[in-house]
């Protein structure tokens, strides 16, 4: 299916919007009517046709505009992309992985021509046609990780594996749910997860790390994570929190359907061949409440999840103050009917709203 790229913004006038197709393929993160942290990982081996799981690196209608937003964030704050000196080889691994996957999965959009170590990369949506020497940094306009992640949706953490731990030693982070690469770079798995409530006590991070350390080349894994964002703002960074935090107070019962967005991260994990590191793409999808409510199952479920979410999680995710208003809105879409298992919209089988 050819993709029509939106011309839209994720700041100022917020012209971001989801097409009907984008709503139907939105990665709704709740597979049942309640939510708690868990080691929710599975193999990343495709998925239903046109779902965000189908391709290894999903490209959607927001691609071109998201890359424009990333360039703006980096111009304002170059520290959002950093790589410690020993991570250059892992950066080449990331570049190769993304280029080969995209060229295979989207041959109409991307082409990679390899002649020994002379590579030609064509990115049609962004109008790029570059020839460079693989593993020679001087032949690219940026370092390899920065070069390719300026052309790929989602944030990227590149992890070095040593001492039975993962170390966040490089990254491109401009669409984050309120954490700072500049602060966290160089930390290990337990250190950068330190602020997360409840999950340490549940042993989740110990088990999750064990899983990650054993990921093999060619057998990537994935999980979903989520939070809430007022306005379709991609760059909810701590760096700019003093500027965007105030937007959380602009919700009203009238505008909440349009302004309040469910923010979902499709997180994937790939082993890197030369460096033996891991790359962790964190792909952000936004969907306005009013668009989610067009799927009856999601309306019922989102109300129940948000209503019953432990206070610690609502606080950590930053929407505890707005939860009552969210529930007033969401309760209109919950008629008490049971919901089917799993995250898919099930439009053909789930009954329409009965009130």
């Amino acid at each position: 299916m050819t993709i029509q790229f939106n011309d839209e913004t994720f700041r100022d006038d917020y012209s971001f919007h989801n097409s009907e197709r984008a709503i139907k393929r939105f990665p709704f993160p709740f597979d049942k009517d309640s939510y708690m942290y868990a080691v929710n990982m599975e193999q990343h081996r495709g998925g239903p046709a046109d779902s965000v799981y189908e391709k290894r690196f999903d490209v959607d209608e927001h691609y071109v505009s998201e890359m424009r937003d990333r360039a703006q964030v980096l111009a304002d704050d170059p520290l959002r992309c950093q790589s410690l000196p020993h991570m250059t080889l892992a950066g080449w691994d990331v570049l190769e992985l993304i280029m080969t996957c995209k060229a295979e999965d989207y041959p109409d959009l991307f082409e990679l021509h390899r002649d020994g170590d002379r590579w030609r990369w064509i990115n049609k949506p962004l109008g790029i046609d570059d020839t460079f020497t693989f593993l020679d940094e001087t032949t690219l306009p940026y370092g390899p990780m920065e070069y390719i992640t300026r052309q790929t949706q989602g944030d990227f953490a590149v992890l070095d594996q040593r001492d039975d731990n993962l170390w966040m030693d490089a990254g491109m982070v401009t669409t984050q749910a309120d954490w700072s690469l500049d602060f966290d770079i160089g930390m290990n798995f337990f250190e950068w997860h330190a602020p997360v409530p409840l999950a340490h006590e549940k042993g989740i991070f110990v088990r999750a790390l064990k899983f990650l350390l054993n990921i093999q080349q060619g057998a990537p894994a994935r999980r979903l994570n989520w939070t809430m964002t007022v306005n379709p703002l991609l760059d909810t960074s701590p760096e700019n929190y003093h500027k965007w935090g105030i937007q959380k107070t602009t919700l009203t019962p009238q505008n909440i359907g349009a302004k309040q967005h469910l923010r979902v991260e499709l997180q994937t994990f790939f082993r890197l061949p030369r460096s033996n590191g891991l790359v962790f793409p964190i792909r952000c999808y936004l969907c306005a409440f009013q668009d989610l409510m067009t799927v009856p199952k999601w309306g019922r479920r989102l109300h129940r999840v948000i209503r019953d979410l432990p206070e610690e999680l609502a606080t950590y995710k930053g929407f505890i103050d707005n939860r009552p208003m969210m529930l007033d809105y969401l309760s209109q879409f919950d008629d008490g009917l049971p919901t089917s298992n799993g995250i898919w919209p099930d439009l053909e089988t789930e009954p329409p709203l009965q009130k």
Binding site: F183, G186, F190, A194, P195, H242, G245, I246
Partner: protein
């Protein structure tokens, strides 16, 4: 002076111990202010004969007491920043088996720890003991400026002037805790500053 018991905290926050004299031919002790007392607690003539002490007094009068221990080398610097080139130089030709002792404020220990680790000293050869002020070295997540010796929460960033709250999230690379704007969602509503552990 009794030692401050830090409350339990999150996993990025450093945990400090109690210095003990370790066997070894070479010892480097870096301390500020009341950290001198931790050195005096473990000092023996034999240990001191193999020890290089780098001390920043910060207005205390422990310098003479440390000198009186007769360390092999004694240096008293006017500030931590001024002593950094010396610390780097000493670490540069650290012998195998050098034992490093860091004691005093968190800011001193964190920064000297970074120098030692960068110089390749194994973690197992570095000990720490907190003494004295519980003030923190803070990075403003917004402007990236470091404010030293922060005693209250919230506090004003010495660089950009924002009112910041004091997090427990700690970066060893920056040797600093994170400060985040406290009144972003309610501009001007800044609570009265309190001591960090009050």
């Amino acid at each position: 002076m009794s030692k401050f018991e830090f409350p339990a905290s999150i996993k990025s926050r450093p945990v400090y111990g109690t210095l003990e004299a370790r066997p070894g031919k070479h010892h480097l002790m870096i301390a500020d202010a009341e950290g001198a007392e931790a050195i005096m607690d473990i000092a023996t003539p034999d240990l001191m004969a193999k020890t290089h002490i780098i001390f920043i007094s910060r207005g205390t009068d422990y310098g003479d007491k440390l000198r009186a221990l007769n360390p092999a080398i004694f240096y008293e610097g006017p500030s931590y920043a001024a002593s950094v080139p010396r610390i780097q130089r000493v670490l540069q030709d650290a012998h195998m088996g050098l034992q490093v002792y860091l004691t005093g404020t968190e800011g001193l220990m964190g920064q000297a720890m970074r120098e030692a680790v960068d110089a390749g000293i194994p973690h197992t050869a570095i000990q720490t003991e907190h003494r004295g002020s519980v003030a923190r070295r803070m990075q403003c997540v917004h402007c990236k400026g470091i404010t030293e010796d922060v005693e209250t929460d919230p506090f004003v960033c010495a660089h950009c002037g924002l009112n910041l709250f004091v997090r427990d999230h700690y970066s060893r690379r920056l040797a600093a805790y994170q400060g985040v704007c406290i009144d972003a969602e309610d501009p001007g509503n800044v609570p009265e500053p309190k001591g960090i552990y009050e």
